[in-house]
Symmetry: C2
């Protein structure tokens, strides 16, 4: 039976909705890697899927640092969620903010409505954490959303603009010093990208300053960079960064951050632009469920990815802490999130058929990190790659996994272009006070 | 003589600066089409050029409506000013806001400094004007900057998201009604682009609404669209828009705008999204100079593009009102701005050689406007083109004039892609409250 919209006379999908309303309801909160992979896994299942996100786009977070350093445009690493599930006629998309879960009544609470579920998948990810120093956030913002990335791009580009106008050499040096805190993949990639931006893309664009002389400092509290990788690979990354002119401080924790610099192991580094790439703090999934959480707020889940005591709720991706078959905690990376999403979808489909699903086990195909142009490291189950080969593999893998055929082409062309010319295509300062002589207003905007 | 920077030990261009300081100083305010064309014209002149803009990027305004309707990304129509004058070693770029001009002492006043000039070129453009109804701006924003465009994109895309969640059919219809005020090129192009966005790109992405039923209304107070074109061409544009489903109201002025709709010729149109593409108001160039201005605030200039009484000040582009040799006022379009910029540069170069320059005369090569996919109109000195041929010429011309080889390729590929797939590549809602259930916050953000 087809219904007609009273306002425009067009057919509406009353028939489809009638049909869906009798099916089990699966609600997915969050359309990141984990949630989207669960939604895709349910594409052909006899369930009614509702995918809720507070953004209209899925974000390819591994390349977010390239937006923050003016290499890629926001549109190149983000795809509308609706377009990604367009052909799944069993899937509704809601743009909105979830404020809680009523596990007893099986309801997801949003600001102005509540949505009933039979199965709930929570995949709300994480933000950054300042280890109890919330006041650092204003001076050292992190990188999780497109807004974070464009704000960071504004900060970095404005620092050079302000330095160009600054008569005092001390302040000029402070403006052209960039401190990146955290020596994991994000920190390493960001430091490398800022070094290349300053020393290549901007090199000939200023008259009073030489951006090539910018000081880029990478700080890591552990004794080496990229702790998750083999030691030879992290040594290689350190050398590659040093060749780019990045100054590396290892084994020293940050003890203070203010608007004019940071203190690292007792040493003061004067810098106007500090970037946080250290801790993460989970979104409040565990709180919503009153479930146990680890120190970073991640919900503790069992082998079936459920918090204890809840039969039909799954918590996956960066907001959960799961353990491998060997008992070690799984890392907060995209492959884990995707495999967990696919697993939960499979489990729900199997359950509808009355079949059991064995516990989740993560298959680690390897990990990668890049250190600027022509240098990356990769570890595929013990096969190590580095330098130019590593970079080619890194580029191919990221283009392959980047969602949306069109974005793949656009990013591939951009990288080829940057490789040939050292140019950066996205050097825009935006926002309503994007001028060098209104730095306070611009920073308020960026914050 | 080479100097060294005390903080980093790098050579700085003291020698060059010494050399420049003895040359005549040309200050250009504004790096739009007019200012940039003047700067390029002075590239090889024995003058010291200072180019001031409050943005770090030159904007290709003719394609701004495509950013507002999710067709192109902001980076594709904007290029860093520094990159555009990188090879002009006689040119400095300052990112900052000019607050006034002291014509007596020959100084440009900025917030925290003043800059001396021997020749001043003012090319600060225009914003939109509401004909004395400033209160309309909150409900019907205009389109002049990248921020305007992304705010408008947010508004349009959020309207569909909110409609998808809206149970009341009356409010749903209000949310999916878009009113564009102004039947010039911007209004015609925007209305056509919204119609295509709704009826093609978004058509299959919603479950509760049918974006194809969106109502798009174009309002023009004059008796026909595109008054600057021949009547047959504006008829053609009207037919093309009507084929796209755009409702056209001609010969009726808007008498009221509020947050729920507009009143046009006594008729009320309920709409949550109203877009202003009507009047413009010049930036305060004339006020800075205490020079006579027309009703739109444009500085009246003589045949040499100077306001009366000032020998070494030129006002060009959208902030000036110049007249053709026949006495009719020149239109506020890119070709006029570019030719004026080149003329003033030539005039200054000639003056240095002690040569006279005849008065400025505008060469009109023609004008164009597009009405969506495969339809555009063009008038080249009486040679009329329309439909698909017009569209091909329009596309080629815009790609050709788009500054920066790289952007040309990116835009050409995007258009080819959209042409083949009807997809839109930049459907992002950004900002800190980009959710459908927080419309008030989102609109505050967008405003």
């Amino acid at each position: 039976m087809t219904d007609f919209d009273p306002t425009c006379g067009c057919p509406i999908e009353a028939a489809r909705r009638e049909d869906l309303s009798s099916l089990p309801k699966v609600v997915i909160i969050g359309a990141g890697f984990a949630g989207l992979s669960a939604a895709h896994g349910l594409a052909r299942a006899r369930v009614h899927v509702t995918l809720i996100d507070r953004r209209n786009h899925h974000l390819f977070q591994p390349l977010l640092y390239q937006v923050a350093t003016a290499g890629l445009a926001p549109t190149q690493i983000a795809t509308p969620i609706r377009a990604l599930v367009r052909h799944q006629r069993n899937t509704d998309v809601i743009l909105g903010e979830v404020v809680g879960v009523d596990a007893q009544r099986q309801l997801v609470m949003m600001e102005d409505r509540s949505i009933a579920y039979d199965h709930l998948i929570i995949a709300t990810g994480a933000r950054h954490s300042y280890f109890g120093h919330g006041e650092w956030e204003a001076h050292a913002p992190g990188l999780k959303t497109l807004e974070d990335a464009t704000a960071q791009r504004n900060r970095i580009l404005l620092a050079f603009e302000r330095a160009e106008l600054e008569p005092d050499p001390i302040e000029r040096a402070r403006l052209t010093t960039f401190v990146v805190i955290g020596g994991g993949p994000t920190g390493v990639e960001t430091a490398g990208a800022i070094a290349e931006l300053a020393k290549k893309a901007l090199a000939r664009d200023y008259r009073m300053i030489n951006p090539g002389c910018a000081r880029i400092v990478l700080v890591e509290a552990a004794p080496r960079l990229l702790g998750a990788f083999a030691e030879t690979l992290s040594d290689h990354a350190r050398c590659a960064l040093e060749r780019l002119g990045v100054e590396i401080h290892l084994g020293q924790a940050v003890t203070a951050i203010d608007d004019a610099g940071v203190t690292v192991g007792g040493e003061r580094i004067e810098a106007r632009c500090v970037i946080w790439a250290a801790g993460v703090q989970s979104s409040p999934a565990a709180k919503w469920l009153n479930a146990p959480a680890d120190r970073a707020g991640r919900c503790v889940v069992d082998g079936l990815l459920r918090p204890s005591g809840l039969e039909n709720v799954y918590v996956i991706g960066d907001c959960a802490t799961a353990r491998s078959a060997q008992g070690s905690p799984l890392p907060g990376v995209a492959p884990v999130a995707k495999q967990q999403g696919a697993y939960v979808a499979r489990r729900i489909v199997n359950a509808l058929r009355g079949e059991e699903t064995p516990a989740f086990s993560y298959v680690d195909y390897g990990s990668m990190a890049t250190v600027g142009r022509k240098a990356a490291i990769a570890d595929f189950r013990g096969t190590h790659m580095k330098g130019f080969t590593g970079w080619l593999v890194w580029s191919a893998a990221h283009i392959y996994f980047l969602i949306g055929f069109r974005n793949r082409i656009a990013v591939a062309l951009d990288w080829l272009w940057s490789y040939l010319t050292y140019e950066r295509g996205a050097r825009l300062i935006t926002g309503h006070h994007a001028t060098a002589d209104a730095p306070a207003a611009a920073e308020r905007e960026a914050a």
